[in-house]
Amino acid sequence: MARTITMEVLRYRPEQDAGPVFQTYEVPFTDDMSVLQGLLHIKDELDETLSFRWSCRMAICGSCGMMINGKPALSCKTFLRDLAPGPVRIEALNHFPIERDLVVVMEDFIDKLERIQPYIIPKEPRTLEQGEYLQTPAQLEKYEQFSSCINCLLCYAACPQYGLNPDFVGPGALALLHRYNADSRDGGAAQRMELVAAEEGVFNCTAVGYCSEVCPKHVDPANAVNQNKTTAAADYFLGFLKPKGSRT
């Protein structure tokens, strides 16, 4: 006989529910089953109306983030055996509006992602004939960790400051911003620093640090945000020393 576990899933069907409600399912599971597989079992065998996002099943696409027993986690990377005997509480990612069931509205993040200009703005434009941009291992190390982000939004669900003020650019986007600013090939730092220092920038962060705890890729977004507090403050004070009109 297969073991079973109780999964309490937060449902929200805008056409019929006034607000979110929990619905309980009994799910048979084996040791190799993730929370995502539990949800897939529900959808395939028990209740086809349940909605959730997923794609890769291997912690790389970043679409399956949800609150599992109150903590932001990738459901494909969290195993039911570790949560037995249960019950397991599954909710949509905190701090985002719920579109339906476990699906959140992420337009806000996509917009922020665009605003940080997440691509290399070449410091020195080169033609194809001039060959590739070279980078030493030491230069790579400066940003490599911040380039591992998979846009899963767990850090946003872990950030109370984002929950309280959704204008805050937030940990994930700021970590990516830092990834480009710290790249030796990039020359766009001055443009991006405007956002870093803006009202919605790094100074919303009060160093709670939970974002870095929940990040499945060890990006340490809190570190990126806090390094940029120093950079933004230095820019501000050094700005007084520069002659007028020299700011780029």
Binding site: P14, P97, P160, L164, T206, A207, Y210, N223, T230
Partner: protein, 132 residues
């Protein structure tokens, strides 16, 4: 017509819902004790400026059992504050590279705590030496 009706969940009581946030709030709260002790020292300084009588009055107030109890409470809170402050310190600074190797977060936290203990002991020794 769109059936979309995104539901925004309330934030009320957010910090009670996760042990990590409770710890964060205690850390932030303990800063009030640090500030309170700063005020106590400031009052002492003002008394000193006001002359011998005021200064002796402040010294006597500091010896009251309630004042001693207050000191114990503040010591506990400040210890907690330093501990939790150094715990997040590695997250707030650029990577520290010594001899081509990145210093581990635990090392940074440990060094900070060690510095606190050493500085406290030196201060204690100085005051001890001066008042005997």
């Amino acid at each position: 017509m769109s059936k979309r009706r995104p539901y925004v969940r309330p934030m009320a009581g957010w910090w009670r819902k996760n042990p990590f946030f409770v710890e964060y709030m205690i850390h932030e709260g303990s800063a009030l004790f640090v500030a309170a002790y700063g005020v106590v020292l400031l009052v002492g300084l003002v008394c000193l400026a006001q002359g011998e009588a005021a200064w002796n009055g402040w010294l006597a107030a500091m010896k009251h059992p309630l004042a001693l109890l207050f000191h114990l409470a503040v010591l506990a809170m400040i210890s907690y504050h330093s501990w939790s402050w150094f715990k997040i310190m590695p997250k707030t600074m650029p990577p520290l590279v010594i001899g081509g190797k990145r210093v581990a977060p635990a090392m940074i936290t440990g060094a900070g705590l060690a510095a606190t203990v050493v500085a406290s002991l030196i201060l204690l020794g100085l005051v001890w030496g001066m008042t005997r």
